[in-house]
C-alpha cells in the first residue's frame, strides 16, 4: 500500500492491512510534527508533493526493500498540506515473519524516502519560514 493523502493518516487501517497469518513482526514508524527545530519553536509544517512522481519513487523504494528483505506486506503513506504539532506526516509499516527484517526494511524505507521522493516541507515559525534542506 502506497499513498499520498491530504486527510489524516489512518493508523488502524494500515495495521489491519499489514496483518497476515504469516506475519510474526510488524514495525511501524510514524513521523510526527514536533514543536521545535534546532531549538526554534515551530508553528506548523506545510508539505507539498509532486504526487505522480512521489508515488513512483516510493514504489521504487518499496520494490527495492522487497528485493532485500522477505516482506509480507508494507504500507507507505505520506500526508501533505498544512500539519500542526502532533499531526502525523508519514507512516511506514512493514510486516515480516521475523523482527530483524521488519526493523531493517522499515528503516531503509523511511531513510530513502527522505533522500529521493519529491516531497517538500516548509517549517513555519512564529517569526518566519523556511523550506527544509533548500539552502546550503
Amino acid at each position: 500500500m502506497i499513498a499520498i493523502t491530504i486527510d489524516p493518516i489512518d493508523v488502524a487501517a494500515a495495521m489491519t492491512y499489514l496483518q497476515s497469518d504469516q506475519a510474526g513482526a510488524i514495525d511501524l514508524f510514524l513521523g510526527i510534527v514536533r514543536n521545535n527545530t534546532q531549538e526554534r519553536p515551530v508553528d506548523r509544517l506545510e508539505y507539498e508533493a509532486y504526487d505522480r512522481m512521489a508515488i513512483t519513487e516510493m514504489q521504487k523504494i518499496a520494490d527495492e526493500a522487497q528485493q532485500r528483505w522477505p516482506i509480507i506486506r508494507y504500507a507507505v503513506i505520506h500526508r501533505k498540506g498544512i500539519l500542526k504539532i502532533g499531526e502525523m506526516a508519514v507512516l511506514i509499516g512493514v510486516s515480516t515473519a521475523h523482527r530483524a527484517d521488519a526493523f531493517e526494511a522499515c528503516r531503509y524505507i523511511i531513510d530513502t524516502i527522505k533522500k529521493t521522493v519529491p516531497i517538500w516541507k516548509k517549517e513555519v515559525f512564529i517569526d518566519g519560514e523556511e523550506w527544509v534542506n533548500a539552502h546550503p
Binding site: 506526516a89 524516502i113 527522505k114 519529491p118 516531497i119 516541507k121 533548500a134
Partner: protein
Amino acid sequence: MDLPVSVLLFGITRDLTGQSAVTISLSQDARVSDLLNQLHQQFPPLTGIRSLLVAVNGEYAEADQLLNRNDEIALIPPVSGG
C-alpha cells in the same frame, strides 16, 4: 527558439518564482542542462538553492538528456519529505 517547454515548480522554486509552472523557450535539440541554464538566467534567485534536479515524465533526468515537446518537466529542489 522553437521548443517551448512547460516546467512544473514546487517548494522553494515555486516561492522564488511566484509561479507553479513556467514556460521556457529552448532550441530544438535542448538538453536538461540547457533548461537549467535558461532557468537560472531567467530566475537568478534559483542559483541560491543547494541543488536543482530535473524530472522528465516523472523520472529523475541526467544533465545530457534531450527534451521533447510533450515531456512533463519538473524542477526538483532538495527534497525534505518524511
